[in-house]
């Protein structure tokens, strides 16, 4: 079986994760954003902390399904789940559940570095043969994309705001300085709901 040392960069994984996050989250407006634990939470925080971004610091494998519950509850808003390959792999069944539920206002972007960045850059399954975009397509997602180059990011940003798209963005396995957004779950919940005009209990 093929394995990777932390020094090897998989071919095609060249994009800088912070630049990708900044491009995809640019001008977020009233978009609802859910991020997966670890690096995508830091990336989204670095791109600009906001009330309508719900950061996960745990609950690994849950980001996409939180996005679905949100998208069904708020059918007139766009919902974007931005997560990593390891987080998506832990909740792979959600690709089938979400495709079956067919929420038109939900899109997922996986920042795929082929690594478990939080734990020592061990190779993830996307470095070992799994193609998440192909997995999504075979689960019934009609629109999938794999992006590897900077000029594709702005068209991808537009698609993520307008269609139920599952996108993989191949990023370099770098570890930029940590940006730590708020991590208290109750705080994040209350400020998110308050920003939607929902009452506190």
């Amino acid at each position: 079986m093929a394995t990777l040392s932390p020094d090897n960069v998989p071919p095609g994984n060249l994009l800088d994760r912070r630049a990708v996050a900044a491009a995809l989250l640019r001008d977020p407006g009233d978009m609802l954003v859910v991020t997966g634990l670890g690096s995508t939470t830091y990336d989204a925080g670095a791109a600009g902390d906001r009330d309508l971004t719900f950061y996960l610091w745990g609950a690994m494998g849950g980001a996409a399904m939180i996005g679905l519950g949100l998208a069904l509850a708020r059918p007139t808003r766009r919902v974007l789940v931005m997560t990593g390959d390891g987080e998506m792999l832990m909740g792979l069944g959600a690709l089938a559940t979400i495709a079956a539920a067919a929420a038109p206002n939900l899109a997922i972007a996986v920042l795929d570095n082929g690594r478990y960045g939080e734990t020592g850059a061990q190779a993830s399954h996307t470095s070992l043969g799994t193609d998440l975009a192909a997995a999504a397509a075979s689960c019934g997602w009609r629109a999938t994309a794999t992006v590897t180059a900077e000029p594709e990011l702005e068209p991808l940003r537009r698609r993520l705001r307008s269609e139920p798209l599952f996108a993989v963005v191949r990023i370099a396995p770098s570890e930029p300085p940590r940006f730590l957004p708020p991590r208290d779950g109750a705080f994040l919940q209350h400020r998110f709901r308050a920003a939607l005009g929902l009452p506190a209990s």
Partner: protein, 183 residues
């Protein structure tokens, strides 16, 4: 149902009463892993235009879905079997950390008249596992108490922002009948 009877003889009336409670509690998202004990609730949820029934591949998806629903201003319920409770353990930290309401209705296996030994370990551990993750546990053994218990559980969950499970005992549901097919 007399106590000497192991298996459900005719369709019970309490599932419709439970469904009426879910409607009255303004539940909008009904997440489920297919289950015989919840079959009537699942059918009613699919038929109700005010509800969205979401079939899951595994139960922890339903915990995350319920969290997303709450963030967006809707109430959800997770319907599952006791075996699925084990799949939810870490995802329940989402509910605890975020101090969100959470309601789940759990059909019990591995207890009253169980035929399949593979259901017994998780069935026995179900209340302990839920309580260990901070979930309040109610248990219904008799048809006459089910609807009222679910109403109280929904009120506790959504008014006091805590996770609540109602266990539907195997005695209430009727043990699943296994029959050997003879050629």
């Amino acid at each position: 149902m007399p106590d000497t009877q192991l298996h459900e003889a005719k369709p019970a009336l309490w599932p419709d009463a439970v469904f009426a409670v879910l409607q009255a509690a303004r539940i909008r998202q009904v997440a489920y892993v297919p289950d015989a004990g919840h079959a009537r609730l699942i059918e009613r949820a699919h038929a109700d235009p005010a509800m969205r029934a979401v079939v899951l591949t595994t139960e922890e998806e339903g915990v995350a879905l319920a969290a997303g629903a709450w963030l967006g201003g809707e109430r959800a319920v997770l319907l599952m079997q006791s075996s699925g409770v084990g799949n939810c353990i870490n995802m329940l930290s989402l509910i605890a950390n975020c101090r969100m309401p959470f309601l789940t209705l759990v059909t019990m296996r591995g207890e009253w008249g169980e035929f399949n030994p593979w259901q017994v370990p998780m069935g026995s551990a179900t209340p302990c596992v839920l309580q260990a993750m901070g979930v309040h546990v109610h248990r219904a053994d008799h048809a006459h108490e089910v609807a009222g218990m679910v109403a109280a559980a929904a009120a506790l969950a959504f008014d006091s922002s805590v996770p609540v499970a109602v266990l539907f005992s195997q005695r209430l549901i009727g043990a699943k009948a296994f029959r050997q097919e003879t050629p």
